[in-house]
Symmetry: C2
Subunit: 299 residues, 2 copies
């Protein structure tokens, strides 16, 4: 897999040119290695942060990239000269896990991606469920504590305000300011405001009790949101992805136990909660699958 | 429509005999009126509180009726001598609204029933969505405030602990004990512990400001749970049913505004929140539809 930073601050045209260059590079390499000739390519699958409109291939709004009503699909399709299909990145990643990863053979699976935000995708009865306006699966902004922490979206108590990467870091730093003993400050030369969720995982591996406690709290908050999903959708599987899953049992142990505590027994007994199989490639594999479903037929 | 109290405390056999008697009575009346002869009946649709197993027609557990692993479907089918199909009562009611009621022609609709508990049903892409073990739609026990009120299920902060009938009454009584001026005590001869959610609706109609405030709070709590559904499932419509909907705009006004505040704009713009069209008959009409889908084919 090729990957590159978005560098969205340089401008939307720059990002599109970068994506087009990467696609052309991949096609060239495949031709050179004799794997695929130029006329073997049938189309391009794209996963993008949303909300977006699949019908028109337009990204409606992405606060992190600064795009609004941006015709991403057609810009790329026209540059490459191949048809393209666009879906939400979290939907693509969940479809990827269902097609080739942790959720192969599973009828109903929810994907939850922990990163700068918290994304979600739903594959129900073997198909991505999009909802009325292509924004189904926005678990990050479900409320778990109506009087809780302020979220970047302006509301209070969203799951994202507790269990996203920046939220984990913020909770860790709060405890340090309150005097919790920890290795964390040493990892950032004492500048605690530079602490990220990755440092928390690193400190856990180094045996830090406080960092393990921060992760246990994260797992409990995440468990409340996941239990809500389990009660509403009664899925066979929930696939958790993102850097935080490196914490392994420090995350999955208390997460599974919180879900068991809060969800209906029949529902939680039926639901496996597992880490992603495909990691960062889930979205790319899923984007290819998105193209197949949109333009060719069921997988 | 015929209806009768369950009187479940007398025993499961008594309840089944009652249901069988009602079905026989309806068949007799239809024959007498010349509407349907005895051999015109093809089967029986049943809606029951769950969780239940549709495959075996067994009610797994209903705290309110005291049943456990109860083979309701076959007991009734064998007594009447016709095949039967069983589904959750909230699923049946939602299917009824989709087939003949408020949600005709809508692809994705969620039904939310406010009563002693809070039930939910999901019709996605025109079919009841059951999940892995037939318990999808349990919105009543989704968490809206992880540090909140104790729920009968043992957890804290379930939607049901705020917006079910008993929860509305409990919140109303708490305020009265704290000295809130209200007509409510007069409706129960001063015995405030007898206050029910119906009294709250009655007091609102009589112009009681405190009762209206209790309903506004109810709508806000309900709005948090409904906004979670809107963010996760992005439905075209949410149908609210149950006695509390008699409060009309006192409920729907603040409910819609809380959902607009908490759900993604694209998702809340796409979602109508409406009262039930069929009222108490939704479950019966939906049970007939359940039989059709299970035994005959799509509606």
């Amino acid at each position: 897999m090729r990957s590159m930073p978005t560098d969205a601050h340089i401008g939307a045209k720059f990002v599109v040119d970068r994506i087009v260059d990467m696609i052309r590079g991949a096609m060239r390499d495949a031709a050179r290695e004799g794997a695929l000739s130029d006329d073997a390519w049938v189309g391009i699958g794209l996963g993008s942060p949303g909300p977006l409109d699949r019908e028109t291939g337009t990204v409606l709004e992405t606060p992190n990239l600064g795009w609004r009503n941006f015709p991403l699909r057609d810009l790329i399709a026209n540059s490459i000269g191949l048809p393209a299909a666009l879906d939400n990145d979290a939907n693509a990643a969940t479809l990827g896990e269902w097609w080739q990863g942790a959720a192969r053979g599973v009828d109903n699976v929810l994907g939850v991606t922990l990163g700068t935000g918290i994304g979600g995708g739903l594959v129900l009865n073997g198909e991505v469920y999009h909802g009325a306006s292509d924004v189904a699966g926005e678990i990050g902004h479900t409320t778990i504590d109506s009087n809780g922490r302020k979220c970047a979206c302006g509301n209070y108590g969203c799951l994202e305000a507790y269990a996203s990467g920046p939220a984990i870091a913020a909770r860790a730093v709060e405890g340090l300011h309150a005097g919790a003993p920890s290795l964390l400050p040493d990892l950032v030369d004492g500048d605690v405001d530079r602490i990220t969720a990755a440092h928390v995982s690193e400190a856990i591996i180094a045996g830090d009790t406080y960092a393990a406690e921060v992760m246990r709290d994260t797992a409990k908050f995440l468990g409340i949101g996941v239990a809500n999903l389990v009660n509403i959708l009664n899925p066979e599987m929930i696939v958790i992805s993102g850097g935080v899953t490196r914490a392994g049992d420090h995350l999955f142990g208390p997460l599974r136990s919180e879900v068991r505590k809060r969800a209906f027994k029949v529902a939680s007994d039926a639901c496996k909660i597992v880490p992603s199989d495909l990691g960062d490639t889930a979205g790319v594999i899923g984007a290819a699958a998105t193209y197949h479903v949109a333009r060719i037929g069921p997988l």
